[in-house]
């Protein structure tokens, strides 16, 4: 597809379970980002991948959160032992390269509900 694709669009899970969220960036985009938006709040940066460089994990809220990216393609965000406060919309974005002049294009997000 032409845009950033995220799956699933909705995920309901029980507290304590692990979840995996997937992001397919725009083809040719070397940079990929994960953000989280909790209800009534702005988007919160989680992690940034740029090519083969070490990812910037500075936004990950705890060691229950991890993300991987295969080359310059698909990324998965994994949340282990989910908690109710993890409930949010998780948004993925990609850009042609990193840096301020490179527009980030967002997917529609995965809405995660932890019961």
């Amino acid at each position: 597809g032409a845009g950033v694709s995220q799956s699933p669009s909705n995920k309901v899970t029980e507290k304590g379970k692990d979840v995996e969220l997937r992001c397919d960036p725009i083809s040719g985009h070397t940079a990929l980002y994960w953000y989280r938006q909790r209800l009534g709040q702005g988007l919160e940066f989680l992690i940034y991948f740029q090519g083969n460089s070490a990812p910037d994990k500075s936004g990950l809220p705890s060691d229950r959160f991890s993300a991987e990216r295969t080359g310059e393609s698909v990324s998965t965000l994994t949340i282990q032992r989910t908690q109710q406060e993890d409930s949010a919309v998780y948004l993925c974005a990609s850009s042609f390269a990193g840096g301020p002049g490179n527009i980030q294009y967002f997917g529609a997000g995965t809405r995660l509900s932890v019961l």
Binding site: V4, A31, Y33, Y35, G40, Q41, G42, L43, E44, F45, Y48, Q50, D56, S58, G59, L91, A93, S95, G98, G99, P100, N102, I103, Q104, Y105, F106, G107, A108, G109
Partner: protein, 115 residues
């Protein structure tokens, strides 16, 4: 600590009039600013940006103004159209601090353009 603030959660404007959305920031290292627009069930889409070397950037009906001394920026939409009804997010990055690709978002302003 909310480094990017959008103090008006909502705004209603009549079609054809000017919409002014405001954003304040606290981090003096921010020097690149963006506005994103978000429709329900979609990801944010880039609207317009401005670098701190400028105080104004214009693109069609959209103009962003930056007042560095006041740490304030605003988005003007004129004339406003019903299709502009969406949530608008202000975002900032700090390239000089080495975090060019990490966007910090405000909480958003919901704009409703009425007929």
């Amino acid at each position: 600590d909310q480094q990017v603030k959008q103090n008006s959660p909502s705004l209603s404007v009549q079609e054809g009039r000017i919409s002014i959305l405001n954003c304040d920031y606290t981090n003096s290292m921010f020097d690149y600013f963006l506005w994103y627009k978000k429709y329900p069930a979609e990801g944010p889409t880039f609207l317009i940006s401005i670098s701190s070397i400028k105080d104004k950037n214009e693109d069609g009906r959209f103009t962003v103004f930056l007042n560095k001394s006041a740490k304030h920026l605003s988005l003007h939409i004129v004339p406003s159209q019903p299709g502009d009804s969406a949530v608008y997010f202000c975002a900032a990055s700090a390239p000089r601090a080495g975090t060019a690709s990490k966007l910090t978002f405000g909480t958003g302003t919901r704009l409703q353009v009425t007929l």
